[in-house]
Symmetry: C2
Subunit: 201 residues, 2 copies
């Protein structure tokens, strides 16, 4: 539903991968691309075309032991993944600080809140309070639809989930009602800054 | 020279660690703190006092092999450090995107340019072009003086260094003439945002 031809016309997906594959060799080739891969390619495109400077932060890793072999690179032999205290992506676009988290869900109609951490929710609330732009990007893998949703809605769902019997997920309907579908195309693959530009500027 | 008493009065250092230690148990306790530790404590202070949201990015690590033992955390058993493509620190202050790199030098009167990477120089040039604030923070460990210097001067020194016979370092004099000493005190330890606030706003 949010695929676009290179000239900007929207492409109405018939819902099967086969249909899409017949339409475009490029989109066919993208089957199996993760949201993270798509965003990395997109951010590289933004960087090269000088539209924005946005990077994914490295995964935080606790290094415990490092070997220093002679004449070769230091080798980490014991380390552990740490939980990130911020979001994965940040940078600058049109003079504004941009901050977001990106997640995939295999569920058709919701994304479980356990995909996010409390620290991330608080982080995005801070960012917004300080004048930055904060949102989440969520891909629903059953139909490959990708949405942008302002961080305020994540905060609201988070608060509701802490109540007794509160819903532990964000319904897709909220993305459809309050969020924005992100155009998917050849380049940039996931043109989320087109949405940001329309919504926040 | 940039030590401050908690009430804001500047403290004139006599140049010996002993002198400082006698003056303040707190500052005595800080001997041996690295620039990175001081900045981390400072950024935590800014975060808790809700003045800014600035983090050090995790060190980029290339993970090659991970073990998944039963009933315990995934253990990385082979990984390597990667060269960062951006600076170490970024975030938001008073609605503005902030980006900087922090380095120590053991030389009294200069910092070698090999402390920085070409990617980082280009990154800060991009940040400034997009309306962000970009600078370096350099600590001269022989006298513990810390300076903030706008990224444009790093770029200039970098370009000069590429010429035949060009100087391969940034002279301390440039920090003294075009940069700003950063106040060192109890909390925040390295109040670089006081300088940023004065210089960029």
């Amino acid at each position: 539903m949010t695929l676009y031809y290179p000239d900007g016309r929207p492409y109405k997906d018939n819902g099967s991968l086969g249909g899409r594959a017949e339409t475009s060799a490029v989109i066919y080739g993208r089957r199996g691309m993760t949201l993270e891969e798509d965003l990395n390619v997109t951010n590289q495109f933004y960087l090269r075309s000088d539209q924005a400077v946005i990077y994914k932060k490295p995964t935080p890793i606790q290094v415990v032991h490092v070997d220093y072999p002679k004449r070769s690179a230091a080798k980490i032999t014991e380390a552990y993944f740490r939980k990130p205290s911020t979001t994965d992506y940040n940078g600058i676009f049109k003079g504004k600080y941009i901050d977001f988290e990106a997640k995939e869900t295999t569920h058709e109609n919701y994304i479980p809140l356990k995909n996010f951490h409390e620290h991330q929710v608080e982080h995005m609330e801070r960012i917004k309070r300080h004048g930055g732009i904060g949102f989440i990007i969520v891909k629903f893998t059953p139909d490959d639809e990708v949405f942008l949703l302002d961080a305020v809605f994540l905060s609201e769902c988070w608060k509701l989930s802490l109540r007794k019997g509160g819903r532990k997920s964000i319904p897709r309907k909220l993305f459809e009602d309050k969020g924005y579908p992100i155009p998917q195309q050849y380049l940039p693959r996931l043109d989320y800054l087109r949405v940001v530009n329309r919504v926040y500027f």
